[in-house]
C-alpha cells in the first residue's frame, strides 16, 4: 500500500496547451517525452486533442489501431489496452480519438474515469497534448495537471489566444472554488471582455466579489497566486522573439496578477518539417538540431523547476 502511494506521489502530469492551432503543441509534447525517456524516466504521452489528434505523427507512429476513443466509449475497459509502446525505450503513447465524434466532448464521468485510470498507470511522467481552443475539457485537463504549459508563437494572434486561454483557465478555476450562484454568474459575465459592468481585469472582478462576499474574494486572490502556468515561445527567429517571452511574463504579472514562468523557447528551423516529412521524431532524426536542443533545455528547466533568466539575452 505504501509503495502504491509512493508511486502515485511520484507521478507528475504535465499538460501542453495554447489556445491556437498549429503552433507546435504536438511537436513540443512529443519531443519533451523523448527527452524525458532518454533521461530514463518512464513516460506516457496522451493525445488528449479530442478534435484533431496527431501526436502519433510527430512520433513517427502510423495511425494506431487502439485509441483513446476506444477507452472513452468503453469498447475496452482497461486503459492498458489502449497504451502503445513506441520504438523508444521508456516511451509509450495513448493515441488520440480518430473516429469517435462524441469523444471531442466527453462528459464529466468519462473524464474522471480517464483521470482515475491514468493515476494507476506505471509512469513517472504523463504528458497530455491538449488540442487547440479553450473548451471546458481542455481547460479542465490543464487545471488538473501538475504543470500547465502554454505554447505561443511570437505573433499577435497566437499571443491573443494565449491570453484568452489564461483568462478562461483561471476564471474556470474561480468558478470551481465558489458555490454562491450569484458569484458564479458574475464570473461568467466577467469572461465577456465587453461586459457592461466595468469588469476588465481579474482585479476588478475580485473587488466586485468582495463587495458581495469578502471571504470569497480573498479565496479568489489566493487562487491567483496558486495559478502558475508555464510558457514556451515556439518558432523563435530573433533575439527579439526570445524577449517576447519575458514581455508576456511581465504583462501577465501586471494585468492578471499571475506569476507566469518562462520555461524557454524553441527556435524555428527547417529540421522540424524535414523530420515530419520523413515521419520520424525530431529528437531522433535531428538530435543535434537547434530546436531539439532547445526542447532539451526546456526539459531541464522543468525538472529543476527553473525558468529562463534575462541573462540569456545578454
Amino acid at each position: 500500500m505504501i509503495e502504491l502511494q509512493d508511486a502515485l506521489r511520484r507521478k507528475e502530469i504535465w499538460a501542453v496547451g495554447g489556445g491556437k492551432g498549429g503552433i507546435g503543441k504536438s511537436l513540443i509534447t512529443g519531443n519533451i517525452g523523448i527527452s524525458l525517456a532518454r533521461l530514463k524516466k518512464k513516460v506516457l504521452l496522451v493525445d488528449a486533442d479530442l478534435g484533431g489528434a496527431n501526436l502519433h505523427t510527430t512520433l513517427g507512429i502510423g495511425v494506431p489501431e487502439m485509441t483513446l476513443s476506444d477507452f472513452l466509449s468503453r469498447r475496452v475497459e482497461n486503459i492498458q489496452d489502449v497504451i502503445i509502446q513506441s520504438e523508444i525505450k521508456n516511451l509509450s503513447l495513448i493515441s488520440g480519438a480518430q473516429d469517435f465524434l462524441d469523444a471531442a466532448n466527453p462528459n464529466f464521468s468519462q473524464k474522471t474515469r480517464l483521470l482515475r485510470h491514468l493515476e494507476t498507470v506505471d509512469a513517472d511522467y504523463i504528458l497530455l497534448d491538449l488540442g487547440a481552443g479553450t473548451s471546458y475539457n481542455i481547460l479542465d485537463f490543464f487545471l488538473f495537471s501538475d504543470q500547465g504549459i502554454l505554447v505561443v508563437l511570437p505573433e499577435p494572434t497566437a499571443i491573443e489566444n494565449a491570453y484568452r486561454f489564461i483568462k478562461s483557465a483561471f476564471y474556470r478555476r474561480f468558478k470551481k472554488v465558489v458555490t454562491h450562484q450569484g458569484i458564479k454568474d458574475l464570473i461568467d459575465a466577467a469572461m465577456d471582455q465587453k461586459n457592461t459592468m466595468g469588469i476588465r481585469t481579474p482585479y476588478d472582478l475580485i473587488e466586485r466579489v468582495k463587495l458581495m462576499e469578502r471571504e470569497v474574494g480573498e479565496i479568489l486572490e489566493l487562487e491567483i497566486t496558486k495559478f502558475r502556468p508555464k510558457l514556451i515561445v515556439n518558432q523563435v527567429r530573433t533575439k527579439g522573439d526570445i524577449q517576447i517571452g519575458f514581455s508576456i511574463k511581465s504583462a501577465c504579472n501586471k494585468y492578471f496578477g499571475i506569476n507566469l514562468e518562462y520555461l524557454g523557447y524553441v527556435e524555428y528551423d527547417d529540421s522540424v518539417w524535414q523530420s515530419i516529412r520523413s515521419k520520424r521524431p525530431l529528437a531522433v532524426e535531428y538530435p543535434y538540431s537547434r530546436p531539439a536542443r532547445c526542447i532539451e533545455r526546456i526539459v531541464h528547466n522543468l525538472l529543476r523547476k527553473e525558468q529562463l533568466t534575462l541573462s540569456t539575452l545578454y
Partner: protein
C-alpha cells in the same frame, strides 16, 4: 496581494527588489520600457493604448525617482509608512553614520537654468524662450513630466548633454553608477575635453550608454557628439 496597476509601487512596476542597486534600476527600466512600447506585440489584446500610455508614464516616474538617491529615500519612507516596505535593519551596519536625506542639496539645482541658458541660446536658429519650468524646489515628490529632449536643443553639445542630465536630477556620480563609465570620462565628455578622452571607439561605446541613462535618443546624441568630436580632432 492582487493589485490594480495604478496601485503598483515603483519597485513592482519595474519588477525589482526594493534593495536593487542603481545599476539594476537602470537595467530594469531599460527593459520594462521596451515591454510597454506603444506597439509591443506582447501587450496585444490585453492593454488599451490609453492604459499603455499611463503605464509608460508611471514607469518614467518610477525610474526618475529610484535613480535619484534623495528622492528614492523619501519614496522608501512613504512606502514604509504604507507598510509596503519592511524597516531596514542591516542597513544600519553598513552605514554607521546615518544621515537624514540630504534635502539641502536641492538649492544647487535652482541655479541651473541661469547657467544653462547662454549655451542653449547659442543656437543657429532663433529659439523660443526656454519653455521648461524651473526645476522644482520642493521636496514633495512631484512626478516630472515624461521629458522629451528640451526643445531648445538642436545639437547635443557637451553642455547640452550636461543640461539634460541636470534637468533629470542626475549627478555625474549617478550616471557613472548606472553606466559604469568613470566619472572622469563623463566629465570630459560634458566639457568636451576631447584630447583627454579615450580612443574614439571607446567614446562611441560610452555615448549611447550615457544617452540612455539620461533619457535621450542614443543615436542622435552619439551622432551629434561624434560629429563635433571629429571636427575638433581634425584641427
Amino acid at each position: 496581494m492582487v493589485k490594480k496597476i495604478e496601485d503598483l509601487n515603483y519597485y513592482e512596476l519595474l519588477e525589482i527588489d526594493p534593495r536593487a542597486s542603481t545599476q539594476e534600476v537602470y537595467r530594469a527600466y531599460d527593459r520594462i520600457k521596451k515591454v510597454y512600447e506603444p506597439n509591443s506585440v506582447a501587450l496585444y489584446s490585453l492593454f488599451s493604448p490609453e492604459e499603455t500610455a499611463i503605464l509608460r508614464q508611471r514607469i518614467e516616474e518610477a525610474y526618475r525617482t529610484l535613480i535619484n538617491d534623495p528622492k528614492r529615500k523619501e519614496y522608501d519612507m512613504v512606502l514604509r509608512e504604507l507598510r509596503e516596505l519592511p524597516e531596514p535593519e542591516p542597513e544600519a551596519q553598513r552605514m554607521p553614520t546615518y544621515q537624514p536625506p540630504p534635502v539641502q542639496q536641492r538649492p544647487v539645482v535652482v541655479r541651473k537654468p541661469a547657467e544653462r541658458e547662454p549655451f542653449l541660446g547659442n543656437e543657429t536658429r532663433p529659439q523660443p524662450a526656454p519653455s521648461a519650468p524651473p526645476p522644482q524646489q520642493a521636496e514633495v515628490p512631484v512626478p516630472e513630466q515624461p521629458r522629451p529632449a528640451p526643445l531648445t536643443i538642436t545639437e547635443f553639445t557637451g553642455t547640452a548633454i550636461r543640461a539634460v542630465r541636470e534637468n533629470a536630477g542626475l549627478s555625474i556620480r549617478d550616471v557613472a553608477g548606472i553606466t559604469k563609465i568613470s566619472e572622469r570620462y563623463l566629465g570630459y565628455i560634458e566639457k568636451e575635453e576631447f584630447k583627454k578622452l579615450p580612443a574614439r571607439a571607446y567614446l562611441k561605446g560610452f555615448l549611447p550608454q550615457y544617452a540612455k541613462a539620461i533619457g535621450l535618443d542614443p543615436e542622435r546624441m552619439t551622432g551629434d557628439y561624434l560629429r563635433r568630436y571629429d571636427a575638433a580632432m581634425e584641427r
